[in-house]
Symmetry: C2
């Protein structure tokens, strides 16, 4: 069986994360990065991460040595069905690299950009085969975290998105297709809101960086590994779920609890939120969701004990 081939363009922390994930899933990887010492850094990153991906489970034929660096973009992308771009986050630089890739890529290849913020239609500008360039935004460490946000640009057609979905799912990811282009996509907008508030809290002298971190890890952070903010609130609302929560905590949206203005809680938004949660929960009762959450949290608390920050001294 011939190995599937992927090309990774730009081998910083994120590029190397992709290389490790691809290798662990049995791909042959062709890499391009003109920076001095890039190849050695990649080898080191693979060595460091290989025990982790091995523990998670390797695909048949997975080989940590199956990565080759090339001196030209053209050689690197040749034969690749997936080309992942990870150059620094500057629009002009990404556009020119993606143009160059699109000129030499196979027409049926998916060209995914790891950009955390730039809209795909902007990235597609000036490319030969613009519809094939999409956002495929991963999360650090790429070889462990499964989320990848897929966003097509104005030139992207549905079959391309379907093909991309399968490709990324095939390397153990949970692809999420974002239908509407916005800067920062979805996940980074959520994280950026929390991050900005965290900076305000430190700036205003309310808490230290370490205290902010603990306010997450010992509380909501434990839930967020299993359940996002909507389902969490759905469970906090008793039998009425989100419907009750919006009635009870809707007014708090007007309070100056953050420096972020909330949207008006219109009937339409209420229905989107309540209906969304009910659909998400499906036929499962709140009591059953709670039981499952508790079972998970007990196991997680057992696990996390050794890994919380205050354990650092005893483990090194």
């Amino acid at each position: 069986m011939n190995k599937k081939i992927a090309a990774v363009i730009g081998t910083g922390v994120i590029g190397n994360g992709w290389i490790i994930r691809l290798l662990a899933h049995g791909y042959e990887v062709k890499a391009f990065d003109p920076a001095e010492g890039a190849q050695n850094k990649t080898k080191q990153a693979i060595r460091d991460a290989w025990p982790s991906v091995t523990d998670l489970g390797l695909a048949p034929g997975a080989d940590p040595e199956a990565v080759t660096f090339y001196d030209s973009m053209e050689e690197a992308v040749s034969g690749a069905t997936l080309i992942q771009e990870n150059v620094p986050e500057r629009t002009d630089l990404k556009q020119s690299v993606l143009q160059e890739i699109s000129e030499v890529a196979a027409p049926e290849a998916i060209i995914g950009s790891s950009t955390s913020g730039i809209k795909p239609s902007i990235l597609q500008e000036g490319a030969v085969n613009p519809g094939r360039i999409i956002v495929a935004h991963p999360f650090n460490p790429v070889y462990l975290l499964p989320l990848v946000e897929l966003v097509g640009g104005m030139n992207t057609e549905k079959p391309t998105m379907d093909q991309a979905f399968s490709l990324y799912e095939g390397i153990g990811m949970k692809p999420m297709i974002v239908d509407k282009e916005i800067e920062g996509h979805v996940a980074d907008r959520l994280m950026e809101a929390l991050w900005r508030e965290a900076l305000h809290i430190v700036n205003d002298g309310i808490a230290t960086t370490e205290e902010v971190d603990k306010a997450i890890t010992y509380g909501a952070g434990l839930r967020w590994a299993q359940m996002g903010p909507f389902l969490t609130f759905h469970l906090a609302g008793g039998d009425q779920g989100m419907r009750h929560m919006l009635e009870q905590f809707g007014p708090a949206l007007k309070l100056p609890w953050t420096k972020l203005e909330a949207p008006e809680l219109t009937d339409e938004l209420k229905e989107k939120v309540i209906g969304g949660c009910e659909q998400h929960a499906g036929d499962v009762s709140i009591a059953e969701l709670e039981r499952k959450r508790n079972e998970f949290l007990v196991k997680l608390l057992d696990l996390v004990e050794d890994y919380w920050p205050e354990q650092k001294e005893t483990r090194v």
Copy 2:
């Protein structure tokens, strides 16, 4: 050995959560809630949660039956060293209940309010022994999540906070003392920022509630059980840690990635953030922190697989 006695005033979801945590840690609990059927709901909540707290480990003498409902506040708080107030989140209601509690509580008792947003100095107004009234804000489910934010008001002295810290630590919690009073304390400000952004995303038709949840659970949520936003960024910055991250992503604070305005990244704020992370990490190298993070994530991914939302159908 006489059992320690705690009083729980108001037995909704949060009040019952406190009762379960206190019982699991060997307390005798005296409860007060004039609502019809309150006692039966509490008994049911204890039955539902007892397997979880048992799995986590019970204290010697822990007894799920050691809770008694009283017809008057005075009887309920008599003999209690810890009195936890959990009535609905309305300032006037909480103030009048806390006044009543302070009139009948032992002078050395800690009176903790579970308020998620009101400042302690406001809660202390008009009380007999105002310094004893503090914010002790827990997270749902209270019997599993260890975080409790402790905030003293203008009448609270340090020995009271020290006593409260020991009391809550003694029931398996990770108390965090917040030195400066603000509405929403710390954790809820962070969650509220993310929550408001999530509402904007749904309101603007970018993603559904379910997609927003997945954008958390499959990505950053996995990290947040172990590491907060600051240490996460410290690790994403390579050898230079947070210093590098602020240089690289500082400019993104100016981008309209959320509807929340970021603070100005002054030299002073930079130093607070960088110094905070370096102190938090201590003598542990970034490589060692990464190794530990990976080890944790591999185990967590193994665990969480059965508990992610898409598993709901197969598990009921």
